[in-house]
Symmetry: C2
Subunit: 175 residues, 2 copies
């Protein structure tokens, strides 16, 4: 069993020409879910992680079991207006238009080592916006973990240029 073989490709979703990489087929498989979490755990268990941050909403799917397994807390980062208490936000550019991510202001303590988790890295825009939020709260970015790296879209290069390291369980072309 490889993780990559359990990921379904949905052609032309969410728009024509895009090959959507669907992790629901991976997560519904008992061994698929287990191996995904365990491989991320094995990679990050010695990174002295204090907290896992996951991005709405597919980042929740992998971030919470990983936090549980690491024995640390989990913090959600959400789109604008979705978190109930006081937040800090960060706007970032998309191919067309812009978007905003928010985090609760009391979600991270100064100096905590934080692991960012999401299902997928494409251009890295959402990841970098989220890392900016973590640092705004005084957190120290301890790493970034993804199930999928869409390699031709350059996310890894952008993260590494900013001094962040990342780990992904499998790679696809970014078509």
């Amino acid at each position: 069993m490889t993780i990559k073989s359990l990921i379904r490709t949905v052609p032309h979703y969410p728009r024509h020409g895009v090959q959507f990489r669907d992790i629901t087929t991976l997560l519904k498989d008992p061994l698929g879910l287990k191996v995904t979490v365990d491989e991320l755990f094995n990679h990050f268990q010695d990174h002295k992680i204090d907290k896992v941050v996951g991005v709405e909403s597919r980042g929740f799917l992998i971030g919470t079991p990983l936090a549980y397994k690491l024995g640390v807390g989990f913090v959600p980062v959400r789109k604008q207006g979705k978190l109930p208490a006081e937040t800090v936000g960060h706007d970032y550019e998309l191919e067309y238009g812009s978007d905003r991510v928010e985090i609760h202001t009391d979600a991270i303590e100064k100096g905590e080592r934080v692991l960012l988790v999401d299902d997928l890295i494409a251009t890295g825009g959402t990841a970098i916006a989220t890392l900016t939020l973590i640092e705004k709260l005084g957190g120290q970015v301890a790493g970034c973990g993804f199930i999928i790296d869409l390699i031709s879209l350059g996310g890894r290069k952008r993260l590494e240029e900013k001094g962040y390291s990342m780990y992904a369980l499998c790679e696809f072309e970014g078509d």
Copy 2:
């Protein structure tokens, strides 16, 4: 440490007069996350669960670590148009208007014993709609698990009238 003591109440969210029960303060606490998952695991471990279904998006936060701990797969139920492959949906009434939940048609095998998980049960409308989806796919509802039961809103009674059993980790008034 009690689970209930780690849940934050945000007054007047999302609208005036509502006391929002915020689980992010529970999940960011390492012991809070651990005890939440472990108590649900302890309750359901002998229920012969084949699959966990969690409702977008706070149900993802507790459903995936529970599925991981149970050694089974996880299936997301989402709002309309959010799942990439072929879905079946169910419309249900809200206090004002209606809503729709969807599940991938290949998410559950006939006869599988399925556990529904969400952060909270209020009137039970979303839960019953989701249980209907599970049964449309031939799944057998093995139980429902929640962190919070808003007791005055009657969700438990509605579930039990339809023959479902539920378990919640703590109770609040539904004000």
